[in-house]
């Protein structure tokens, strides 16, 4: 492997050729983006492949070549061949499985035998929030436990008071499909984003007549749709996930990118911040069927779980921060133990064949609420793995379920244009 990072970029094919160096994403790697004409066609267009992809697989004839060059990668000797690397990969994978196996001395259902069963729940819908003109895609509670923000396909973001059903603010975004919205911890702003590839922060005001949309500020810029967003412990930082396969941490005031997280090989659909006292990690799930745990400081992927068989739609931390759950299009929800580094439970039933779109835990972590594409919400017993209850009422698929911060109510947003607040 040559030391010259530009070797391999002198293109001989095509009439025009220009080489531009991408930013050094994670030293000592370099991403080289190449523009040029294809020997097979006339048009030329710039091209860049997302990190980690095999560029030659891109079925786009405008792509001449996108070469990824490793500069002085420690350990990649000249003599290492693909075959030896593959062999090493297999050995390491087997060793990891072995290590994990040694520590698996008990299963969750065995531990759960000593715990008493959950009494039958009777959860009723107490409020129906009507007002959106199209599918409601996302919602989030405010820390004051009564306000919530919701976003829909028609580009509207509404801040509601869940007790009185008042609509406090209405924000209109120029794009449709606002897939992500979040309430700031202070309660003074909301963030929203979607197909416009941006995530914007809108400061709320007490003055009803003020046009809040005018004060909207673009914070995050991605190269594909924004699928999820969340404030960190303060209003000043925003964490976003995007269809371009990356997650990113932004400084709200300046719009500066503080850290980016690369590792997913497909769209990232969901993220959740750890509630632990250190609060330095978050988990993300994507269309590559993987759930990754990241360190916010270094941008490194510290743990990865690939047990699902289809796109992961939603990930959520357990209240103590030592575990998390995921919901996927393969109609299962899974529970992962972070300290033991493995999946410990799968929540599925033969009668459930439609994908799960969203999950959330109750306050104690005993119940897992999961919204499905068959218009229902199933309530699972986290320890025993059984289904405790089913909630009906929505007339289209459930896109998001969230338990209020004090654990008293569950809000579900759906494609039937309504939100429902339920409690026992």
């Amino acid at each position: 492997m040559s030391q010259d990072p530009l070797e391999g970029c002198r293109i001989s094919a095509g009439k025009k050729s220009a080489v531009s160096l991408g930013k050094a994403l994670h030293p000592p790697n370099l991403l080289v983006v190449v523009e040029g004409t294809c020997g097979a066609c006339v048009a030329a267009s710039p091209v860049s492949a997302p990190e980690g992809s095999c560029s030659y697989n891109v079925a786009h004839h405008h792509l001449c070549v996108c070469v990824r060059v490793c500069m002085a990668w420690q350990g990649l000797q000249k003599g290492e061949t693909l075959a030896s690397l593959k062999q090493e990969s297999e050995n390491l994978r087997r060793k990891l499985e072995e290590e994990r196996g040694k520590l698996t001395d008990v299963e969750l259902h065995q531990v759960a035998e000593k715990v008493e069963t959950v009494a039958a729940l009777s959860i009723k819908t107490r409020r129906v929030l009507k007002g959106h003109g199209n599918k409601v895609l996302s919602m989030d509670w405010c820390k004051d436990k009564r306000r919530l923000v919701s976003s829909s396909q028609d580009g509207k973001v509404i801040v509601w008071d869940a007790f009185t059903l008042n609509k406090e603010h209405g924000i209109t975004l120029p794009c449709t499909w606002v897939m992500a919205c979040a309430y700031a911890p202070s309660g003074c702003a909301v963030a929203c984003g979607g197909l416009d590839n941006k995530c914007s922060v809108v400061p709320l005001s007490l003055d009803r007549n003020e046009n809040v949309t005018a004060k909207k500020k673009s914070v995050a810029m991605h190269t594909n749709y924004v699928s999820g967003c969340s404030f960190t412990n303060s209003d000043m930082q925003l964490l976003t996930s995007s269809g371009d396969g990356t997650c990113a941490l932004w400084d709200v005031e300046s719009g500066q990118l503080l850290q980016s997280f690369h590792g997913h090989t497909a769209d990232v659909l969901s993220l959740d911040l750890a509630p632990s006292e250190t609060g330095n990690t978050f988990v993300s799930g994507g269309c590559d069927m993987k759930a990754n745990v990241w360190d916010m400081r270094s941008g490194q992927n510290i743990q990865s779980f690939d047990n699902h068989q289809s796109d992961i739609n939603c990930v959520k931390y357990y209240p103590s921060g030592d575990a998390f759950a995921s919901a996927s299009d393969d109609a299962t929800c899974r529970f992962y133990d972070l300290r033991a580094d493995r999946e410990v439970a799968v929540y599925q039933k033969d009668s459930i064949i439609f994908g799960a779109s969203s999950v959330d835990f109750s306050l104690s972590g005993r119940l897992l609420f999961a919204g499905y594409n068959d218009y229902t919400i199933n309530v699972w017993d986290v320890l025993k793995g059984t289904r405790v209850s089913v909630l009906f009422g929505h007339e289209n698929r459930v896109s998001r379920v969230r338990v209020s911060p004090d654990g008293t109510a569950l809000c579900s947003a759906s494609w039937d244009n309504t939100l429902r607040v339920s409690r026992t």
Partner: protein, 456 residues
């Protein structure tokens, strides 16, 4: 067909490219309409005549009339159709453009359309190349030969299977009649031209090899880190999860109903009980944090919590305020002889002070963790046994459980006031913080002296 195995319809997450391709497809179908579609021509190949061809200028003329565009636009549109593989040229099969002349094109079979969900994989390509090799040995283009050699090495473990498949397909192909065979060959060749475009040899191979190697190296590093990471026995971690659930069982409104609403002033017994679960719970509840501060004041050890709060503010604050905050923290807590000097071990202090030369968001991480652990292991337990905590436990309300009928509940809800808006609360908090900061600012001796002088 089971719904589970079919690729899910990502209705709300349709990648933009698919949108365009679906529109293109609708047009391509129209073009092939026998009555209103493009005019048909025939391709003459030596002796045989193969139908279902169309001349470039006919296609462009059709697009022109249909979309009411100029000839240039129609040509660009036609080129797009060729580029994505819906139409392929019969002569010059490696130049994927639409020319406005009599050169012939044919429509690609829907099986090979890009919107079909199957991805053009290496093994499929290997089978295709092997088949070509069987038919005409040594007739592969140079770039195809390189691909073939590379795939032979990369897919060596499956090579027998690939050759077997290729032979089967070749035999099946021989049974077709000539025009069909020619058409199918052209279609397949066009499909692979779109999905494996010819590029500069050396570059391509380099790129391939580099990418594969790089990905594997990265994966190996990840595995090594995963193996080295400390893991806990399942019995321990699962036991901890169960313990958490049991501790919070009575506080979960879905499991133990009739939880009355929290009022902002006097805390309830349940809330006070929750503070005893962990230091994290105590600090997260601002009321609890205030109570803890009262206790610390009595013990004259408030600087630990103050430092922790300041470090949190630094971590989550705006990027622009970082250096000023770091400086204030250093002056207040870490400098020798500082007014609120925190007692941490020498090594951590050394690291932190060194880090503060070039302050960044996480510079106080080590010190903050140390202080938090100190509070957690020592101060927190003393607090729980202290008279301060016991007093607040006594004062805590045990509100009676109401038994309102559903109608009454509804009315109560409707009549409920909006409560204090979070924005107002936040403004009040900021004001209080400013006052507290002003009050605890180090006394300026000179100012005091000058005041005394003036009084004299």
């Amino acid at each position: 067909m089971t719904i589970r195995t079919a690729r899910p319809n990502r209705g709300q997450h349709v990648p933009p490219r698919m949108h365009c391709l679906k529109k293109l497809e609708a047009i391509v179908v129209e073009m092939q309409d026998p009555k209103n579609g493009v005019k048909n021509s025939v391709q003459k190949l030596n002796v045989t005549t193969i139908p279902h061809a169309a001349a470039g200028n006919d296609i462009i003329a059709w697009i022109n009339t249909k979309m009411k565009t100029t000839v240039e636009e129609a040509q660009v549109f036609g080129t797009m159709l060729v580029a994505y593989g819906y139409i392929y040229p019969l002569k010059n099969h490696n130049k994927l453009v639409m020319c406005n002349d009599s050169s012939l094109y044919r429509f690609q079979t829907p099986y090979f359309w890009p919107t079909q969900k199957w991805v053009p994989e290496d093994s499929d390509y290997a089978i295709y190349l092997a088949k070509r090799n069987i038919r005409k040995k040594g007739q592969l283009e140079p770039y195809e030969q390189t691909h073939y050699n590379h795939l032979h090495e990369w897919l060596n473990h499956k090579w027998e299977f690939i050759v077997m498949q290729a032979t089967e397909q070749y035999k099946a192909g021989r049974d077709r009649n000539k025009p069909d065979r020619v058409i199918f060959d052209c279609q397949e060749r066009a499909y692979w031209m779109v999905n494996r475009p010819p590029v500069s040899l050396w570059l391509f191979v380099r790129g391939l090899v580099c990418t594969h190697q790089w990905l594997l190296v990265k994966k190996n590093v990840f595995y090594q880190q995963a193996i080295m990471r400390s893991k806990v026995k399942s019995s321990v971690s699962l036991g901890a999860l169960v313990k958490y659930i049991t501790t919070y069982k009575n506080h979960d409104p879905f499991l133990a109903p009739c939880q009355p609403m929290l009022s902002p002033d006097a805390p309830t017994k349940m809330r006070v009980e929750r503070w005893s679960f962990s230091l994290f719970e105590l600090l997260t509840d601002l009321r609890g944090r205030d109570d803890f501060k009262i206790f610390l004041k009595k013990e004259f050890s408030g600087e630990n919590l103050a430092f922790w709060e300041a470090a949190e503010e630094l971590k989550w604050g705006t990027a622009s305020s970082m250096s000023t905050k770091a400086e204030t923290i250093f002056k207040t807590f870490l400098a020798p002889g500082a007014p609120r000097w925190i007692n941490i071990d020498g090594r951590t202090m050394g690291l932190t002070v060194k880090g503060l030369e070039h302050p960044h968001r996480y510079v106080l991480e080590a010190a903050q963790t140390h202080v938090f652990l100190l509070m957690k292991k020592d101060t927190f337990f003393r607090y729980l046994k202290s008279p301060t905590y016991k007093e607040i436990q006594k004062k805590a309300l045990s509100p009676e459980t109401h038994s309102f009928s559903p109608a009454q509940l509804q009315q109560n809800a409707q009549n409920r006031s909006p409560g204090i808006h979070p924005i107002i609360l936040w403004q009040q908090e900021e004001e209080e913080k400013a006052k507290a900061a002003a009050a605890s600012a180090p006394v300026d001796v000179k100012a005091v002296m000058s005041k005394i002088d003036r009084k004299k």
